[in-house]
Amino acid sequence: MSEQTFYRQAGSYLDSVDVVEVQRGPEPGGVGGAYRAFGETLRGLKTTMSRLIEGPLTIEYPEEKTPVYPRFRGRHKLHRFEDTGLEKCVGCSLCAAACPADCIRVVAAENIPGERVSSGERYAAVYEINLSRCIFCGYCEIACPFDAITMGHDYEMADYDRTNLIFTKEMLLAEPIERTPLKSEDE
């Protein structure tokens, strides 16, 4: 659309811009009509037949699964330091602040020397994500100053009971059952 269209005054119009010629097809009926009905159908069937030989492409979910991309945002994971085994999460609640769905609840507590849970002074005594509310936007991952929470690849979280969808800290820290194949680099 020309710039003119945008800036012209209301009520006025230009023939060159506003009048569009309608392209109409041929009238139905007659020999031409019969050819168009059968010929075009056969042309379409040609594609169908040729694909038929290729065999089925359906992915038999859940027996078969589509691989996801590495940056796919699935079920959250909480992490521990590999060397010390301490939780990376310090319970700062920034993920809860960032969460647009308000589905994260953090209650922090102070580390007791000797029973250290995280590396900082504080740790998350309660860390819950209500996955029935989560919109998998990944803001929690972005907000986390310690890379303690990341989005995993698991998307199979359906349940018959809503209460089971509130994931606790223990569930999020546990190594998730990797049910989802990951796409390889070049895929």
Binding site: V90, G91, C92, S93, L94, A96, A97, V106, A108, A109, E110, G120, E121, R122, P145, F146
Partner: protein, 837 residues
Amino acid sequence: MSEKREVTLTIDGREVTAVEGEMLHDAARKGDVEIPVFCYEPKLGAPVGACRMCLVEIEGIPKLQTSCSTPVRDGMVVHTRTDQVKKAQNAVVEFLLVNHPLDCPVCDKGGECPLQDITTGWGPGKSRVIDEKRHFEKPIELSPLVAIDRERCILCYRCVRFSQEVSEDAQLQLLERGDRTYVGTFDERPYVSPFHGNITDLCPVGALTNYTYRFRARPWDIEQAGSVCTLCPSQCNVSFTVRDEKVKRVIVRDNPGVDDGWICDRGRYGFEMFDAAERVTEPRLKGGSKTDYETAIARAAAGLGARDGKVAAIVGDASNEEGFLIQEIVRGALHSPHLDSRPAAGPRIDTILGLEQPEVQAKVTDIDEADVIFVLGTDPMQSSPILDLRIRKAIRRNGARLVVATERPTALDGGAEAIARYAPGQAAHFVGELTKAVGGTENVATPLAESLRDAGKIVVVWGERLGAAAAAKLLHFADALGTKSAGTDVDGPKTQDSLEISAHQHVGLLEVPDTANARGLREAGVLPDAGPGLAALAINGHGTEAIREALIDGSLDGLILVGVDPLRDFADTARWEEALNAASFVVAFSTFATATAGKADVLFPLETHAEKDGTVTHPDGRLQRVRPAAGRPGDIRPGWQTLANLSLALGHDTGVTSQPTAFKALTDAVPFYASITDAAIGGRGIRWQETESASSFPALAASAPSSAPDAGAASADTQRDSASGEAAPVAGALALGTYRDLWAGPITELNPPLKFLKPSQRLEVSPEDAARLDLDSGDTVRVTQGAKSLEATVAIRERVPAGVCFLAEGVAGANANGLLNGHQVSVQIEKLSEVPA
């Protein structure tokens, strides 16, 4: 006071009108120009310019100036956003962050931190520092309630200034110099002060944090709910931090007319008791069996109704509405005139009327402007702590002079110009002598009178503990003072009886009552000799002590107790025990399961000030609203609802169906509350003396107390006022004075973080008596009065007069109330064990 001149200046191109002498930072705020600050806080007094964050460019001055400490001048042109200023602000932030650990995710201040805000708003956004930051051990206990993290400290001086100039305990100091500077106390001793929690509000970074709020919540997890603290008569404005329906923190809600922006540690840390195991969370029947409200109200109504006309009520901690409903129940439904809201026999209604006349009533802010402050018969530190800070401020900043006259040495003695000590029980005599001395007679009170005479504006801060007789004489004293300092400015004949004269001479009286809402309850009609609005009654009932005696002799049968614990807080515990046992039916309203609550046939739970909805009246007449902030635990219903239903069950319809109708009923019944609405109370409260209905305050009767000087003393048979002339102490005996300790009571027993403050009984004696009785500080002694005794630890105090000793009331296990018997008593002291060497 002369009006300050207005000046006009330009800040960032905006014309701003400010008052002469005002600081540039405050003037800029009026013009909606924000200048970042860390160290500036007007509450702390003179600015120090320590943080350098508020630098601005002023035309005509080549270098940047600190806007917090530069007073405005007419025609000043100020720029806050030039390149030069920006460069300076960036540099200051960068410097502050050189050593700041940036551990915001673990820091409690994260999300409500001025350093975070200013860094994002005015900082460079990048750090060029690659060096190691300074390290301190962290976190350290500055006190058992406050944690200090010295790495986070930006050395703004605020906490140090608070300690030096506001609470005047001078314990916090900046130690070492340069980048090793840190805030601490001498020799790493814990910071002990009843106000020290305020430094956590002042700290602009996370260096000072509360242990009680440590890692409890983030600003986005919580709600703030403004209310009023009713743990003492100061009625400071507070804001409750609530998470998951529970109070997690109490912070100040500045109200210059009440608290000046500070709260004491009692109000700040005394919130965990709201969920204590001792909390009564549902109605109970005798023996502690839990029940529901319907059953409890039916039982209470049946029990009280059967004793129609023979029921008395004593009210302590209650809102105005609750007080009003109680007097409706007692007077309207039970046809009994016997109710009181005072722990001891108080002054008669004509004395109360005289002392509450709007003309002689001082408001809290009058202390700021007073020339002389006269503290009489109270220690604000123990009874109304925030007044103590107010008086200190008046002395330090406004040059007020302080005169103290008390039984026991007070926390304010150090700043006093003249001090008088009278013997316990001699308050009335002393006030009488003082009145004569002000009139020109030479006597013991003359040195004090010298300081009070021709003093200009005087505020008398007097304690309800003075007693009835002294309160009656107080009117004459104020009167004499007013007349005396009148000099020649008063035209016309001076009459000794005219209170207007004293008003003209700026003598203001401010009471420090014994209970938090004493004034509100009095005005709501919870008095034996006055109804709502302090209106005179046809039949006068018994006061607190007379009720006790009537219960024992059987002329009264039933008792309603609302928010009182006579077995702990009232004098003569044994006699109260006897009275409670003698009463055949007791209905108690109590927050906690106390010994008194255990005596109740029907026990109703009470709400705390975080849950209650109602109004309270400050001792200076300010009506304030207590608003519900947290959820009520268990099955607790609002106090007004329980009382209204109980009244209904007794066949008396009060018409109260909600808190607004309860408030309406109160304002309808009290003429001088008539024009006060909920909207007028708002967040800051309103003094009824300043509303149009103030003129409805009952005028002094023709037989004003002035004409009968000892009118009030007639009924005074309390321990404090008995001028019955106890014989000079027998050998070894000391006259006993008692005081209410700030920390004695459920506050330190039910709040785990405050347990370390729980007082043990101390016997305060003078050095002379200690030498005579061979006592040393720390010795354990047995203090005996008649057949009653308790154990205490000796504390020798230089400022205690010889022949007198002091014990605290309400101390668990060794309560001085147990030794009192309604008269002035003296005690024998017997040494049990020496202090271990």
